[in-house]
Structures are given as structure tokens and as C-alpha cells.
């Protein structure tokens, strides 16, 4: 407890919720900082581990591996895992785009229009998108990322791990035609 009599575990969960309300998932280290600011003693050497264990055990919270490999916590009722993941990867346009393309190809399944990444919450400039695509083309870790173009010239991106090129092309054409097929 802190001097205000607040429960440590509940305060840690509240710190995660607060960050979720702001659209961010947080690491255990960030939670400890928030706890310290609220007057909790977080100096013990196992404070980090304790925080991780408490957050993982909390029924209302969820966690995923962040772009740096460390766990990120969020309250899924306030912040979806999809959105949290996008915000977590924003610092690296290449990773941001690749993971989003892969998730779309795997889950729905569908290719995504390249303009998607210019819109919020991605908010990339056309230059950043171009740079990221070039970087992916040169890096074997992203060799699954591919593109297809529709008959009207619209470019769609997909992951060959989940979508065959022919099917991706069909789906891109289908998506492009939705507005002319009401």
C-alpha cells in the first residue's frame, strides 16, 4: 500500500487502464514509474518481476510482446490489442507495415490497400511508406511481403505466408470493386 492506503496490485492495474484510455499499452517498467509517482516503494530488486506477475494475473488485463520483445499490458475493454499493437510499432514503419500486412493476410484474409498506411492511426507519409517498402524488399526477414495491382492501378500489399499471389490479386480486385457493387 502507499500512504493513501491504495492497494499495490490495484494501483498497477489502474496505471495500465490509464495508459489504455490514452491509447497506449505499457511495459512493467512504465507501470513501476507510475507507481513510484503515486508514492509506492518500488525500489526492491524484485519489484519488476512482482509487477509482471501481478499484471499477468489480473483478470481484466491482457498482454502481448512489444516491438522490443518486452511484455506490454493493456485493458482490452479500453484499448484493443490490434490498436495497441499498431501504436507499439509506430516507431518502426517497416515493422508496423509488415506486421499489419501479415495480420490482415492471416486473419481475414485480405490484402490491404497501400493508402491504408497514410491514414490514422498509422499516419505515415508517402515517403516513409516508400522507404519501408524498399527496406522490406532488401531484407530477407520480410521476403513474404508482396504487392499486387488491380486493373485500375491500385496497389495492395499482402503476405505470401498466408495468401497466394493469385488469390491476393483476386481479393484486391474484389475490394476495389465494392464501391461499384452496392
Amino acid at each position: 500500500m502507499n500512504s493513501a492506503g491504495e492497494d499495490w496490485e490495484e494501483a498497477a492495474a489502474e496505471a495500465v487502464r490509464e495508459a489504455s484510455r490514452q491509447g497506449r499499452a505499457v511495459s512493467a517498467a512504465e507501470v513501476l514509474e507510475a507507481l513510484a509517482a503515486r508514492g509506492f516503494d518500488v525500489t526492491s530488486p524484485d519489484a519488476g518481476e512482482k509487477a509482471e506477475a501481478a499484471l499477468r494475473a489480473h483478470a481484466g488485463l491482457a498482454c502481448f510482446a512489444g516491438a522490443d520483445g518486452a511484455a506490454r499490458y493493456h485493458d482490452p475493454a479500453l484499448l484493443s490489442a490490434t490498436y495497441a499493437g499498431i501504436m507499439d510499432r509506430k516507431a518502426s514503419p517497416t515493422l508496423l507495415m509488415a506486421e499489419e500486412i501479415r495480420a490482415n493476410s492471416r486473419e481475414y484474409p485480405r490484402p490491404v490497400p497501400v493508402e491504408l498506411f497514410e491514414a490514422e492511426p498509422f499516419g505515415l507519409t508517402p515517403e516513409q511508406i516508400g522507404d519501408a517498402l524498399r527496406a522490406m524488399a532488401e531484407n530477407p526477414a520480410f521476403e513474404d511481403i508482396a504487392f499486387t495491382a488491380t486493373s485500375t492501378g491500385a496497389v495492395y500489399l499482402f503476405s505470401s505466408r498466408s495468401l497466394e499471389p493469385g488469390y491476393a490479386k483476386f481479393l484486391a480486385e474484389h475490394a476495389q470493386n465494392l464501391a461499384m457493387n452496392p
Binding site: T82, Y108, L116, E120, Y167, L178, M180, P182
Partner: protein, 705 residues
């Protein structure tokens, strides 16, 4: 009985334009078993309009019918079905219905009527004035020749601004089969305007001061309405937004839920910025912007607000203000519409130089809406525009029209994608001017009858999107494999069914859709990923049956099938499930007649089978399977030669579609060989009288040699 039943207004109004007689009958006593809407329409045609009646014969009747839930607080209500012998149906007119939203349905009910049956033919142009129990046939000679807007304005001046006016334009007056009736600016029912014109009926105006009485517990009703709101998505019940958001696990760039926080209704005065939680039930109207969905993000700056039908929070008829259109083309700067109506102008052009989401495209749409919604011209779900494209580019028009007429058309503007072309073309067709106007205003049927083009020429060509009987596909194999094909075989015009496509396009991941499909139709195999189709199975046939029944139910309850049914929802806490028994819960509470999903679906099936019987009786055809439930050849082709069931094709397999039809007839309890309902099916659905008549006509299975 009638007065004790809630939901219904209580009476069906009948106006005989030949004699001037006005009468009423009890809705519940006469029509309870067919609910309302298309149900009443089909019943009236079955009972009162003999087989062989032409669409424009005085003996044809036109039935404006709404339903129990119209005019209540149920989300997405306010629909009127307009049922008649349909003039664009080829090679002979058969039963069909157009559906309009707006305020007409609610006003009709507030005036005390669930439906209006118009029969006979007036000896001069008239309009019908309905003000509660006062019904008058009024002289419309001063309105004849005017567009829908002027007619609406003049009548509203007299009836008061609160009335709803359903009027025809010049196209309907000139008996164009391709004519609409429209109310509330943009809410139109296609194909029926000429039938009104043939009766010399310019408009029906209605003002009602009553209310719809609800029989059930008001608290329960309020809770159910609130729950319904909570499971709504955007337009077409797309349950995930088009953008990633903290409030949603899923998104889909192709979703019609485009109202992202930060977007602005830029032409509102003052402009309105979308803020707050996208799940807020008081902000549902921000989700849909049809102009932005169809015309791209550029349209946000021209958006004034959404508009729509009574009690509908979706408001898919987006109002846009584009001053440049007024300056360039001399039409009003404001326009509103949705879907095919919004695309009316753009659809004529094969290609627009700056693309489909350019400003030119927006101008073409504005111009098209203005002209078509005033002249009262129908597009037959885009078939009119596709027909013109094909006829022009394959040289048919040049060959069929005289040189003088052909040269009088500004084809240079057409080829360059100049919207000004529409100022010539749309009035030309609506006014039935020249050979081109006379033929195209008949719809695709006109090409077959006047120009000896064969139906095969159209049904071979995928680009036409032509299906059968003079009409196009409406969400067929391109969206939903065999399910879409089955649905498209069933009507005498385009199928107008959205039950199935609202589900497959809802934006949820395939695994979630399959889980919901298993819960609703018995197996995840009831649904496939688009273009990754698996062979026909009974679960798909069941889903097709469900889709058709719900379409008829919605059309007969006054609900919008462009939004329902509500099998899926945006709610993670419900595992993205909606509530498939919502319609029956509302029906029970509104009427006080307790029912459940299965019982109400049986009523929907009764209505659907009545349509089937009416079609078969008027065709005089025992074998509907091969003579009516047909599939165009293009469905069995692929431009790249891909085989059916290979990934990335919508090509269907003939044997498999035959099997799909077998399964469908089985789940419908119809004869597999002929697709005709059996006597058992008629009896099960309480349609013994219909069955006996069909048997006497030798149109039930086994009654011919």
C-alpha cells in the same frame, strides 16, 4: 380483434380511380397471415389480378404497403413495399415490388392505414390526398408534366410541410417501364412509376396525426430498442469500422462504417467534427457517409449530414453540397442519395479520366441524382448504364439509330467523361425521346423486343452483370458463391436481397464468420471466403432459404433489408454475435401476439411461397426450375480460364449449381424436378387455398402427365 392488436394501424385503404370509390377493410381480419408489405401486395395480386394482366392495364393494381414495425421506434424502419405487375419483367410482366424508405410509411400509418391499394384508371391526371380519415382524389392536371420536385412542392404547399408525397416524374407519366415513384427527396421505388402513370396517378400525399400503438410492455420495448442499437454497425450492418480504433479489435478498409473521429461534415453550417467514442449509441449517425464510401475521402468536405428513413440512426442518404455543380450545370448545389441512386450519373461512363473518386466523378453523381430523381427515371440497379456502355462501344447504337438521331447525341462528351453528357442523355431516356429514349426507357427488355438483341448476347457477357428476365444480378456468386446464385434465381427482377451479403461483407475475420455460421445455420461450411468457394452443401441451401425469408419478412414488417438481419454485431462481449430473433421479439411486443423466430420465419416463408405461386400461375409454367430459376452463362466462365473451386475465381460449376438447387428445393419442400412448391408445402404454410388453385391449374408437381 383488430383494435386489440398493436403495431398495425388497423385499416387497408382502397381507392378505385375508375369509379372514385374509396373504401377500407380491417388489416388484421384480412391480412394478418401475410403481415403487411409485400405480403399484402402478393395477396392482393393473387386474389384480385388475373393471370395475363399487363402492367399498364387498368386491371393491374398497385399496392403501397408497410408493416407492423413502421412508424415505431425500431431502428431501420420506415420502408414501404410497392407491389404490382412489374413492367420491366421480360418476356412477360410478372409480379414484382420496389421498396422505398423515407417518411411515407410512417405517415401512412399515422393516418391510420397499413396499406393503400390503388386500382382502376382515372380519366384525367389525379393525385390522392390522404389526411387521416379524409381521402380525396384530386385533380393533377396542373402538375402533369412537372418533375417530382415541383409536384412535391406544390402538393406540400397545400397539405402542409409535414406531409409525405410519393410522386412520379415525366418518365412515369410517359409510361416508361424504367420509372420510379419517390418520396422524401431521394427515397424511391424503381419500376413502378409507369404503373402509376398508366393510372393517371401523379402522386399520393399523406398526412397522419395519429400514432402506432404498442401492445407490449413499454419498458421491455425500450430495452429491446436499446439492445438493437447496441448491435448495429454502419450501413449494410458492416459491424467493424473501416479504420483501426481503440474500441474495436477488427477493422476492414472496405467497410461502410467510415465515420472516423476527426472527420468533418465539411459543408454543414457550421462544419461538424466527429468526436467521441465510436460506440456511443447517440452517435450512430456519424458512422455512415455514403458519399465518402462511394466517392472517396474527398466527399467529406462536401458533406452536410446524413438523411434517412423514419427511426433509422444509420441515415445512409448522405446530403452533399457541391456549389461547383450549380455553377457549371445549372442544377441545385445540394443532393442526397445512397447506393445505386448516388452512382446514377457516374455509372454511365466506362471510365472517368481522373478516376472513380475524382471531383469529376462527384459532379457526375450529383448531376445524375438531380436529373433522375426529378424526371423519375430508374436505373434497374445500374443495368441501364451498363446497357448504354455496351451498346455504344460495340457499335449497336450507331447501327440501330438513324444518323440524325445518333449525331444529335454528344458522344464526344461521353468519350471524354464530361458529366455534361448526362444533361442530354438522362432527359432523352426519361422523356422517351427518339428511338434511343423509346427503347432504353423499357429497360433491357426493350433491347430484346425492339432491337432483336438476344438475351444470350447479354447473359454471356459478365460485364453486363445481366442475370435474367430483363434484370441484373444483385449480390450473386461474386459475393457469396452458391448462396448468391440461388437467391438470384428466385425473383422476377433483380433479387434485392441483402440478408446474405450483409453477413459475408460484415468485415469480421473468416474464422469469426464461420463460428457465427455454425451457430446460426448449423455448420461453419454454410459460408466460404469470397472467391475461395467449396462445393454446395445443405448448410448453404439453408442460409439461402433464411436470407430469402428474412428479406420478405423485412419487406413485410416495414424494416430495412439493407441493414438486417442482425446475426453479427460489433460487440466483443457477445463474441460478435447479434440476435437472429430480434424481428420476432419486436413483432411480439408491438402486436401483443407472442411469436418466436421459427414461427415468424414460417410467416416469411408463406409470403415468399405466395410470390412463387403468383409467379408460376402467371407464367402458366409447371417447370420453374428450367424456365424461371435460370443462371446466366457468364457465371460458369472465368476470364483467365480458372477452374471452379480454385482460389481466386467466382466461376461456378454447372453440376454443382444443379446440386445447390436440388438442396435448396429440398429445404424449401419443393419438387426437385420442377422447383414447384408441393401441396405439402402449401398446407404446412397455411396456403391451402393457393395450393388447391395451383393444383386445379395443373401447376403442382405430378399434375401433368
Amino acid at each position: 380483434m383488430a383494435s386489440a392488436t398493436g403495431g398495425f394501424a388497423g385499416k387497408v385503404l382502397r381507392v378505385d380511380l375508375s369509379t372514385g370509390a374509396v373504401s377500407t377493410e380491417s388489416t388484421v381480419e384480412r391480412y394478418l397471415d401475410v403481415l403487411g408489405g409485400t405480403g399484402i401486395g402478393y395477396r392482393v395480386l393473387w386474389d384480385e389480378v388475373p393471370a395475363g394482366t399487363g402492367a399498364f392495364d387498368p386491371a393491374n393494381k398497385i399496392v403501397f404497403a408497410t408493416g407492423v414495425l413502421a412508424g415505431t421506434g425500431v431502428p431501420c424502419n420506415g420502408r414501404t413495399a410497392v407491389t404490382t405487375i412489374f413492367p420491366t419483367c421480360w418476356p412477360k410482366p410478372l409480379v414484382g415490388s420496389g421498396h422505398m424508405g423515407g417518411q411515407f410509411a410512417a405517415k401512412l400509418k399515422y393516418a391510420g392505414y397499413d396499406a393503400l391499394i390503388v386500382e382502376g384508371k382515372a380519366d384525367r391526371p389525379v393525385w390522392i390526398s390522404i389526411r387521416n380519415s379524409q381521402v380525396q382524389i384530386r385533380d393533377a392536371r396542373g402538375l402533369w408534366g412537372e418533375g417530382i420536385r415541383r409536384a412535391t412542392l406544390e402538393i406540400s404547399r397545400e397539405m402542409g410541410g409535414e406531409c409525405a408525397v410519393a410522386a412520379i416524374g415525366q418518365a412515369g407519366e410517359k409510361l416508361a417501364p424504367m420509372a420510379i415513384v419517390a418520396n422524401s427527396v431521394s427515397h424511391s421505388a424503381g419500376g413502378v412509376g409507369g404503373v402509376m402513370g398508366s393510372k393517371n396517378l401523379k402522386a399520393v400525399a399523406v398526412q397522419g396525426d395519429g400514432a402506432v400503438r404498442l401492445a407490449g410492455d413499454k419498458g421491455e420495448w425500450e430495452r429491446l430498442v436499446k439492445f438493437h442499437l447496441s448491435i448495429l454497425g454502419g450501413n449494410n450492418q458492416h459491424v467493424v469500422p473501416s479504420f483501426p480504433t481503440p474500441q474495436s479489435e477488427y477493422y476492414n478498409p472496405g467497410s461502410r462504417w467510415v465515420g472516423e473521429p476527426g472527420r468533418r461534415w465539411g459543408a454543414a453550417e457550421p462544419p461538424v467534427e466527429i468526436t467521441g467514442n465510436i460506440r456511443d449509441l447517440n452517435r450512430i449517425a456519424y458512422r455512415t457517409n455514403s458519399a465518402a464510401f462511394y466517392l472517396g475521402a474527398n466527399a467529406w468536405q462536401y458533406t452536410v449530414r446524413g438523411n434517412g428513413c423514419t427511426g433509422c440512426p444509420i441515415r445512409c442518404h448522405t446530403i452533399v453540397k457541391v456549389p461547383s455543380v450549380a455553377a457549371k450545370y445549372g442544377v441545385g448545389e445540394m443532393g442526397q442519395n445512397t447506393c445505386a441512386g448516388l452512382l446514377f450519373g457516374r455509372g454511365f461512363f466506362r471510365k472517368l479520366a481522373a478516376g472513380d473518386k475524382s471531383h469529376t466523378s462527384l459532379e457526375a453523381c450529383m448531376l445524375g441524382m438531380h436529373l433522375a430523381d426529378d424526371l423519375g427515371l430508374w436505373c434497374n440497379y445500374g443495368q441501364l448504364q451498363r446497357d448504354l456502355i455496351k451498346l455504344y462501344y460495340d457499335g449497336t447504337l450507331k447501327a440501330k439509330l438513324g444518323a440524325k438521331e445518333y449525331d444529335s447525341i454528344p458522344w464526344d462528351k461521353y468519350e471524354s467523361g464530361d458529366p455534361a453528357f448526362l444533361l442530354d442523355m438522362i432527359p432523352r431516356i426519361a422523356n422517351r425521346q427518339g428511338e434511343l429514349g423509346a427503347v432504353l426507357s423499357q429497360g433491357t427488355a426493350g433491347l430484346f423486343t425492339a432491337w432483336s438483341i438476344t438475351e444470350r448476347d447479354w447473359s454471356q457477357d459478365k460485364e453486363t452483370a445481366y442475370w435474367k428476365m430483363g434484370h441484373p444480378k444483385h449480390h450473386a456468386n461474386e459475393d457469396d458463391g452458391q448462396c448468391g446464385v440461388i437467391i438470384n434465381t428466385q425473383y422476377n427482377r433483380d433479387a434485392q436481397c441483402h440478408s446474405h451479403v450483409n453477413f459475408v461483407r460484415n468485415g469480421l475475420p473468416l474464422a469469426v464468420q464461420k463460428r457465427l455460421a455454425a451457430e446460426t445455420w448449423g455448420s461453419p461450411e454454410a459460408v466460404d471466403a469470397v472467391g475461395d468457394y467449396t462445393p454446395a452443401n445443405v448448410y448453404k441451401a439453408r442460409r439461402a432459404k433464411w436470407a430469402l425469408i428474412r428479406k420478405e419478412l423485412h419487406d413485410s414488417l416495414g424494416l430495412c433489408n439493407w441493414m438486417g438481419p442482425w446475426v453479427a454485431s460489433p460487440l466483443k462481449e457477445r463474441d460478435y454475435g447479434g440476435d437472429d430473433s430480434l424481428e420476432s421479439k419486436f413483432f411480439s411486443l408491438a402486436t401483443g401476439l407472442k411469436t418466436n423466430r421459427e414461427e415468424l420465419d414460417r410467416m416469411g416463408e408463406r409470403i415468399f411461397v405466395l410470390h412463387r405461386a403468383l409467379t408460376q400461375r402467371d407464367m402458366g409454367e409447371p417447370d420453374l426450375r428450367s424456365r424461371h430459376d435460370t443462371v446466366p452463362d457468364w457465371v460458369f466462365k472465368d476470364a483467365n480460364g480458372a477452374a471452379p473451386f480454385s482460389k481466386g475465381t467466382t466461376r461456378m460449376d454447372r453440376e454443382d449449381i444443379a446440386k445447390a438447387m436440388d438442396l435448396f428445393y429440398e429445404v424449401m419442400d419443393w419438387d426437385r424436378a420442377t422447383g414447384a412448391p408441393t401441396m405439402e408445402a402449401y398446407a404446412r404454410l397455411g396456403l391451402q387455398d393457393v395450393g388447391r388453385r395451383m393444383q386445379a391449374l395443373k401447376l403442382t408437381p405430378g399434375t401433368r402427365g
